[in-house]
């Protein structure tokens, strides 16, 4: 695919738009897998938005690989595997779904919100960040017609604390993506049922190497294949 856009949203978080064949994507919560020059393993990054012939991703610069991505210019070509993983099932949403995203777990919630809004659902987006300066996409969610709650760990914006400190009284179902501690907290605190998206170091990203396996109530699952989205009911926390 070809880099069409690559701009910072915050000091460390970037948004990249890739042009090319995106027909393999079937659901929000799926991911793509990027081959970077000089890096052996691909970088899996979840889908944030989807166009006719383009996919948008949002990534945080944490290591050499993502730093390399941040330096890429429009026009550069990237070897990308698309449509990977098992995304969110919208059928369970109900009328007023709650979308919970934390940090770089926010992006997949955007495409999910877009699709749910298209179905006329009343979407409440609950987004968690460390501090005000790290917030991104608040306006984009509002523009979709979502009600948006922001929680910041240091209280520099919105609700002080974690997303679990800002859970609304009522919602029909929840969808969640974020760091594992947040997933655990939401799993424990949030009422009702939902779907949670997991992150793990992957080898291949398409189910071949068993590098990202996890145990679930319904047996062993590959985060890259049967996941990254798991239903609350099947999750079995290791340890």
């Amino acid at each position: 695919m070809t880099v069409a856009e690559n701009k910072p949203l915050t000091r460390e978080v970037y948004r990249m738009v890739l042009k090319g064949d995106v027909s393999a994507f079937t659901a929000p919560g799926q991911f793509l897998n990027l081959k970077l020059e000089g890096r052996f393993l691909r970088r899996p990054i979840s889908l944030c938005d989807l166009g006719e012939d383009s996919a948008a991703i949002i990534y945080k610069v944490v290591g050499q690989g993502t730093a390399q991505m941040a330096a890429m210019q429009p026009g550069e070509k990237l070897d990308v595997l698309t449509g990977l993983g098992n995304g969110y099932d919208l059928a369970d949403a109900g009328e007023a779904p709650l979308l919970i995203g934390g940090g770089v777990g926010v992006p997949p919630m955007y495409l999910l919100a877009k699709r749910l809004r298209a179905q006329g659902k009343a979407v409440h987006a609950l987004l968690g960040f460390n501090k005000a300066s790290e917030i991104f996409y608040e306006e984009e969610f509002r523009a979709l017609g979502c009600t948006v709650t922001i929680a910041t760990a240091d209280g520099s914006y919105g609700v002080r604390g974690f997303v679990t400190d800002a859970l609304p009284k009522s919602y029909s179902y929840y969808y969640c993506c974020g760091p594992e501690p947040m997933l655990r907290a939401v799993y424990k605190t949030a009422k009702g049922s939902g779907q949670l998206s997991f992150e793990k170091r992957m080898g291949c990203g398409f189910g071949a190497c068993m590098g990202c396996s996890c145990k679930t109530i319904t047996g062993y699952k590959r985060i890259c294949k049967e996941g990254p989205v798991l239903r609350k009911e099947e999750i079995a926390w290791e340890d």
Binding site: F40, L41, A208, G211, S213
Partner: protein, 308 residues
């Protein structure tokens, strides 16, 4: 017999390219991407007597020109492989498959191989005595010529299928292990398995792999693999399957010149699911570059200069 075909322990392969165990599952993940019948064969996921989840995660770490893995032989166990995986495989692969077997005791190996011996889909038994991921497991057999020979004898006693011993590179003298396996009746050898490696996370100051150490594979290990294939092929009279960092048609040719009768491709499948298909498609043009008429002509060709 085409330009690419080779013989492996009495079975003809259309080409020498074999996806390595643990990088190709039981085949059907890839069958969704292309017709895997273009392969010489493939070595399926390491199978054990009992089902295994394997090691805790993270199981994967990045390395320069390679990767570390500590999957730890996740597999459903030999019974389920026979009852569920092989029937699924039959639908998408009509060639004899290489059954990769691991164990934690000589009895384990014999038990698992005895069951797989009855499966007509299975062409070869690739016996892994070298998986570096399992504490007190496979490792020990492959590092001791006597123990390796013990496994060979136990397996040969329960099967008529060709038995290929997969050797570990984490030894001082791989040739002595190879010779012991040949003497014990092995029909072939495959090497190298992964090199034991490790990475630390600078932030957490802990190993990146939950299992602390893991196996290094990828182009980084190719020169070590080629050296060992060259040494072993020069010392034994049974066929050698070369592997370790192979990721191009040129690498396949280099391995065969070193003495490989066939070549397994591992890590490359994980970064490019079409890697093996591409290598097979590229081989004829690559052979032309070096004036190679048939691949079978060049096996061990890199040793010819020694006699001059």
């Amino acid at each position: 017999m085409g330009r690419l075909s080779v013989d492996l322990c009495g079975i003809t392969l259309d080409n020498p390219v074999i996806p390595a165990s643990g990088t190709f599952g039981y085949g059907y993940e890839f069958a969704g991407l292309y017709d895997i019948n273009c392969l010489g064969t493939f070595s399926f996921k390491g199978t054990t007597r009992h089902p295994r989840f394997g090691n805790p995660t993270p199981r994967i770490a990045e390395a320069p020109a390679g990767m570390l893995n500590s999957v730890g032989l996740q597999n459903p166990g030999v019974e389920k492989v026979i009852s569920e995986e092989l029937p699924k495989l039959k639908k998408c692969f009509r060639k004899p498959v290489m059954a990769n077997v691991s164990g934690f005791s000589v009895e384990d190996y014999a038990y698992t191989c005895a069951l797989l011996d009855k499966e007509e889909q299975v062409g070869w038994l690739e016996v892994n005595v070298s998986c570096p991921n399992v504490h007190g497991g496979g490792m020990s057999f492959g590092t001791d010529p006597k123990a390796a020979a013990q496994v060979v004898r136990a397996v040969k006693a329960v099967t008529k299928k060709p038995v290929i011993l997969k050797l570990t590179p984490n030894v001082t003298d791989i040739v002595s292990v190879a010779l012991a396996c040949q003497e014990a009746g092995a029909d072939g050898l495959s090497l190298i398995n992964t090199l034991l490696g490790m990475r630390l996370d600078l932030r957490t100051r802990k190993p990146i792999l939950a299992n602390t150490m893991g196996g290094l594979s990828g182009p980084a290990v190719f020169p070590v693999a080629l050296r060992m294939v060259y040494q072993v092929a020069g010392a034994v009279s049974i066929p050698v399957v070369g592997m370790g960092g192979v990721s191009s048609a040129a690498d396949v040719i280099e391995m065969m010149l070193a003495g490989a009768a066939a070549v397994e491709v591992g890590a490359a499948n994980l970064t490019d699911p079409f890697a093996c298909k591409k290598i097979i498609d590229d081989l004829p043009a690559e052979m032309d570059k070096y004036g190679i008429e048939r691949l079978s002509d060049i096996i061990g060709g890199g040793h010819a200069w020694e006699k001059t």
